[in-house]
Subunit: 135 residues, 4 copies
């Protein structure tokens, strides 16, 4: 478990009550938890800008499996940088379309390159990369 | 397969050659494909703003499985709105942390609510929602 | 001046030292100040999603002043919703291009509509809207 | 004026009619114009990631002018990198708060540094940087 330390923070009264309302709406039962999440988000955002940082990521994309050669190409790309793709999950949306999610781990520059290759493939429709990490 | 129609588009010469350079770097072999992807992104962005729209989504989050009651709570949340979670994938990051991805399908307002509940749970660290669709 | 209240917040030790490093890099001399800024950002993000909310905004756009009728059109749009545009600033970039910034105040739905009209005008190149407020 | 070149682009019929609906809603009268704007946005997004790129920017921020020494500090920061700030505009929001917009021109790394310094200043509340350019 992470070591916890307690610090006094100066809040503006009005802002704090607005914030308490917002986090209550989102389901938080604890103000410290909500503030730690804000901080974590900010740390993740910073790491994303460093191509050499090692991060986790998920790549979500939709593709048409009838598209000639697409599945072969997608497999090919995933094998080019061994160790980058940890696992993948696949779901059928309709007669033509699949949604696939990859869990990736590696340097930001390698993750981005793989995501670009997949999203730019003919047959791949919308694709989005989420970078995350343990901060 | 989607029906294709060919239209003449007026480009600025300099901008077009800059764009061709950018999409080549990202791996596109075809300019029409890249433009269709830009359009699709824009359509997805618009749909995300409508709470009543039916969309697909993935929710990526990291949590500490040692946190008391967390797995029970996460399962509980996912069962509250039946049919919203299509499937999930789980991977171990280190001794404490797991990364989980859910594939969701439903109205934007329901997807957002479930994502808020999970991200605000004690024990859940960084979480990010990706909304997508077939446009 | 805003009324200040001091609260104890539980931080994870490692995360806190990472955060202290980040905010020091950005120029903060005070941790409470940095946390209040994070909270404010989050509150602004929430308000932006409510079309009826009254907010402040700036609209930045670049346009080619040689484009026939563009200045007349831009003035026209700004006068359609009286009271929305508080002030504007203009700067010359090169022989053809101007950068203009408008300060806007009004309901999110009116601000967005005006921004869409300007950005979609022939002759207007890149445009970006920033919504802000006193939270 | 930019040199124009006409190219045939292959669209999916359904996607194109969705796109036409969206751009009509936003006020575009011309499909080519809307596509050029999408491309420009994408080129600007790419340039933002290169610290050495020369770009234009606007920095929007709100501050409390009663805060001791704030105006002196803001002026100081703006003079540290001569030539970076092209012009500024100021507006009074209420008895305490001002909204200020700076137009900046310079390398991305210098623009970002100045924005960080201002946003992290005590007394400065919400701040947002928009990077733009002529693409």
């Amino acid at each position: 478990m992470a070591k916890i330390t307690r610090k006094g923070i100066a809040f503006e009264k009005d802002q704090l009550s607005e914030f308490d309302r917002l986090i209550h709406k989102r389901g938080y039962t604890n103000r410290s938890e909500a503030i730690r999440d804000l901080i974590r988000n900010e740390l993740v955002e910073e790491k994303k800008n460093n191509p050499e940082e090692t991060m986790l990521a998920t790549l979500t994309f939709i593709y048409n499996h009838h598209d000639h050669g697409i599945q072969h190409k997608l497999t090919d790309i995933q094998h080019k940088t061994p160790g980058l793709v940890r696992s993948s999950m696949h779901t059928h949306i309709d007669a033509h379309s699949c949604l696939e999610v990859l869990i990736l781990e590696g340097k930001v520059k390698h993750i981005t390159k793989l995501a670009d290759s997949i999203i730019s493939s003919k047959g791949v429709r919308h694709g989005k990369l989420v970078l995350t990490g343990i901060c």
